[in-house]
């Protein structure tokens, strides 16, 4: 509902990513290092203007968790020539919507406007790429806003706190284990200077991608980008991201998160998994197909069919894969049992069904249905211009190329049932995983039915 949201990466997303070949997509690099992607879609007189920075929460200095997201908020607080809030006011006065999001790997800003307003949006984005400026009257209340944001989206939700604890447990060294919004005690100490230091270290054309999608002519769009961003010099402070990496994982981890606000207890498990790699997405594609077969449908996927429909012990059961990250992907399995089935029994059933699937192999009819939906998703995906823009922005931010995006459907179609079973063997090895129970405090169990 509210803009400038925190984007917790699509951890539980079941959606297959949807690239598109049909419409022209071009990619250019300006002399100052700025990458430009233009996606033409002339159906409606609307355009999306996005600027992505290849920096996120995983690049924060120790002790300053949340600074990337705090900076994202402060990017709306003015420049040398624009007053606080003026950016959004101008977008609004032009009938547009603007928003921004921070992830571990990237920070993105975008506006959706009538296509004859594109120049103005670019001019303002180019301005705040290098001229950010604000005073105490802006940043101090904004720090309270992000603390309220943490209260609302994390601390008021048991499921979100559980997820935070899961990630903190899965990652031993890599900063994907630190919440994007930050730890509260560190957020409370963030300052304007820290934000400006982070800005000067990471923002600049040589660490950014502009994505223009919608009612534009490709050549005209490129001219505009060159006009507004072309003269900004590359930022010499920008370095290749250097992040801690994970040591070998030799022991599985387990946790229990108890909270009186839990209405439906469940088991969740996260495995470290490979990411989509530039030029070689076959492993990631096999994991994506595995997730679709295990959990991609609320009725016919392997986990739902067996645990919900056949055995009746699950309210729902799920599987998903996220390979859209720079350093580590994740595979997710979970089950919410029906009343009367304990979490340990539910977990055992989940593991049994996964093992049986890997033993027995893929049902050819189900495999064909999933493939057909992959192809259909490509067509449906063309309807969502902003979604396509976002897809290219994420991909380029994490080190993939245009070819990787346009080749993703082909990579999925190339997966064989044997590839799926081979990829699935990783689910039998829990050393690089964390399993969590989200449940009531034990003394509340008896109150479950009456409340």
């Amino acid at each position: 509902m509210f803009a400038r949201n925190l984007s917790l990466a699509a951890l539980l997303s079941l959606a297959l990513l949807r690239p598109a070949h049909a419409e022209p997509v071009t990619h250019t690099v300006l002399d100052n290092g700025l990458e430009v992607v233009v996606i033409e879609d002339r159906r409606a007189p609307v355009v999306v203007n996005m600027v992505w920075y290849r920096v996120g929460a995983a690049d924060e200095p120790p002790g300053q968790s949340g600074i990337a997201h705090f900076l994202e908020h402060l990017m709306f607080k003015g420049t040398d020539s624009m007053a606080p809030g003026e950016f959004s006011a101008v977008v609004e006065a032009n009938g547009g919507r603007d928003n921004a999001f921070t992830s571990w790997d990237y920070t993105g800003y975008f506006q959706r406007v009538a296509s004859d307003r594109l120049d103005l949006m670019m001019q303002m984005e180019a301005d705040r790429m290098v001229n950010l400026s604000f005073t105490d009257a802006e940043w101090l209340p904004e720090r309270d806003v992000i603390l309220e944001e943490r209260s609302q989206v994390l601390e008021s939700r048991a499921g979100a706190q559980f997820n935070e604890a899961m990630l903190a447990t899965l990652y031993k060294a890599h900063p994907y284990g630190i919440p994007i919004i930050g730890w509260r005690h560190e957020m409370a100490g963030l300052t304007d200077q820290m934000a400006m230091d982070f800005y000067h270290a990471h923002y600049g054309p040589n660490n950014a991608i502009v994505v223009i999608a919608g009612d534009v002519d490709t050549d005209e769009a490129l001219d505009k980008v060159t006009r507004y961003f072309g003269d900004i010099p590359a930022n010499p402070a920008i370095r290749e991201a250097s992040r801690p990496s994970e040591p070998p994982h030799l022991a599985e981890r387990r946790l229990t998160f108890e909270d009186a606000r839990v209405g439906t207890p469940f088991v969740n498990r996260l495995y470290l998994a490979p990411v989509r790699r530039a030029g070689d997405q076959s492993e990631a594609a096999a994991l994506q197909m595995l997730a679709a077969l295990l959990g991609g449908s609320s009725a016919t996927s392997v986990l739902e069919r067996q645990l919900n429909f056949e055995e009746g012990i699950a309210l729902s059961a799920w599987a998903s894969y996220n390979g859209m990250a720079r350093d580590y992907g994740m595979f997710n399995l979970g089950i919410a049992p029906v009343d009367g089935v304990s979490l340990p029994d539910a977990e055992a059933a989940l593991d049994r069904v996964v093992a049986e699937f890997l033993e027995e192999g893929v049902d050819p009819a189900q495999f064909e249905r999933v493939r057909r939906q992959v192809r259909a998703s490509e067509i449906f995906g063309l309807d969502d211009t902003q979604g396509r823009a976002r897809q290219y922005g994420v991909a380029l931010s994490i080190g993939l190329t245009i070819d990787d995006v346009t080749g993703w459907i082909d990579a999925l179609e190339a997966v064989t049932p044997e590839d799926v079973i081979a990829a699935g063997q990783m689910l039998l090895d829990r050393r690089a995983s964390v399993t969590g129970f989200l449940t009531h405090p034990s003394d509340a169990d008896t109150a479950e039915l009456s409340q």
Binding site: V46, G85, E92, E148, V153, S156, R305, L315, D383
Partner: protein
């Protein structure tokens, strides 16, 4: 950067929505609005059935919701698994949703499979099986959701507000019923709810994508071939009746959720559009509103605050929501009362009106982004009683509003003495 704004006001030419709507009447007499868009080979279809949960009896609260969830859990010769399998074979996306006032069916399908998908969808709408095992399974999911809702401060606040506002009317009920009513629902109740909620006399149809008017008319008749003409009678309208004051519902957590508001304005009131504009200035759920400026930007008291006109078929209210740390609730309530009194007394400024008119008229075309959004808007506009040319005159109507009209409406809508507050949390300093 003042020159940017100057630049804008010079270039801001009115933008037409450029949506070309074709009204379609099927051979059997059903009406639909179509926006043809042939560049991508698929069709989006949206059906809105008016009535929703309001047509169910008190003791069967939740039955329309459970019924709607069961429509694709087995139909005709196909059990739940077979139905879902067939949907996947057709690569169709079908969604069945119910709410307080409506049951909504959304379908997306490839052009090449249109007839087969319509036959498949017709099974769900006309021959749902309501198998006992499916009922048990989906009921279990619904009961689990009710248990979660009972622990969700946002849901608790909304429920308490609705109970106070519309006591004794279907609008006071929870759309998903209660643990008791849902546990007691049987197959007969579901069959009745199906006959009452899915009927030709209450459907509004929107379509967009790769299809022409004639084909759409045929496709609609194919879909509605055996759907009954009449559904259950609609309940009487209801007036907003909550007394002004503060209701605190204790709940553990770092924040309180605050629901606030009072009576609103009817959807068919000639001044509804004026009220919509005033609310966009005051608290319409984006940046730049008075409420966001006062509570978030100037004071950091909340991550977000929004207000909205809730104008249903049978009654209306004007409400808002926010979350804030427990220590802040008292000051937040004071600020809300102040803002309420201020806009009732002084109205809005010429500059605020100018800005919002530019924003609203510029943003309108952005809504029509893609076949799925367009199909949904087409059905919704008919449901809300708009003429087919509304899309083309709506911006002119907004531009024609005068400051006096807007401020007269503000004085009529905002009543600080009538404010109802529901606080779910552990607010400090209030009792």
């Amino acid at each position: 950067m003042k020159r940017l704004i100057t630049l804008f006001f010079l270039i801001a030419a009115p933008l037409r929505a450029e949506v070309d709507i074709t009204p379609v009447t099927s051979p059997s007499g059903l009406n639909a609005w179509l926006v043809e868009e042939r560049s991508i080979p698929f069709v989006s279809l949206e059906l809105i059935f008016a009535g929703g949960a309001t047509v169910e009896p008190d003791e069967q609260a939740g039955v329309v919701s459970l019924m709607t969830s069961l429509l694709d859990e087995g139909a005709g010769e196909l059990d739940a698994q077979a139905y879902a399998t067939r949907t996947e074979e057709l690569a169709a996306r079908l969604r069945f949703e119910s709410g307080r006032d409506t049951v909504t069916v959304s379908a997306r399908f490839l052009t090449e499979d249109a007839d087969a998908v319509i036959d498949h969808l017709r099974l769900a709408l006309t021959e749902p099986r309501f198998d006992e095992d499916a009922i048990a399974r989906v009921r279990g999911q619904m009961l689990a959701k009710l248990r979660r809702d009972a622990l969700d401060p946002n849901t608790l606040a909304s429920r308490a507000f609705a109970r106070a506002a519309f006591d004794g009317h279907p609008y006071a009920r929870e759309v998903d019923g209660t643990l008791e009513t849902v546990a007691a629902l049987d197959r007969d109740a579901l069959v009745n709810a199906h006959q009452g909620a899915i009927a030709r006399d209450r459907v509004y149809i929107g379509a967009a994508g790769d299809i022409d008017a004639e084909s759409l008319g045929e496709l609609i008749d194919r879909l509605f071939d055996s759907i009954p003409d009449e559904g259950a009678p609609m309940p009487e309208p209801v007036a907003f009746q909550a007394d002004a004051g503060l209701d605190i519902i204790p709940f553990d957590g770092p924040q309180s959720v605050v629901a606030f508001g009072h009576a609103g304005i009817a959807r068919d009131d000639p001044e509804f559009l004026t009220a919509f504009v005033v609310n966009e200035i005051f608290g319409g759920g984006r940046f730049g509103t008075r409420l966001m400026r006062t509570l978030r930007e100037e004071r950091g008291l909340t991550y977000g605050i929004g207000s909205f006109l809730s104008s249903g078929l049978l009654g209306h209210s004007y409400q808002g929501r926010l979350s804030t740390d427990n220590a802040n609730v008292e000051i937040v309530l004071d600020l809300l009362r102040e803002e309420w009194a201020k806009i009732a007394r002084d109205g809005v400024t010429e500059q605020e009106l100018e800005r919002i008119v530019t924003y609203l008229t510029g943003a309108y075309p952005l809504r029509f982004d893609g076949n799925s959004s367009i199909a949904s808007i087409m059905a919704s506009m008919q449901y809300q009683g708009f003429d087919v040319d509304y899309v083309n005159v709506r911006n002119d109507m907004i531009r024609a509003l005068t400051l006096d009209e807007v401020n007269d409406l503000a004085a009529r809508l905002f009543d600080p003495e009538a404010l109802v507050f529901v606080v779910v949390g552990q607010p400090v300093g209030l009792n």
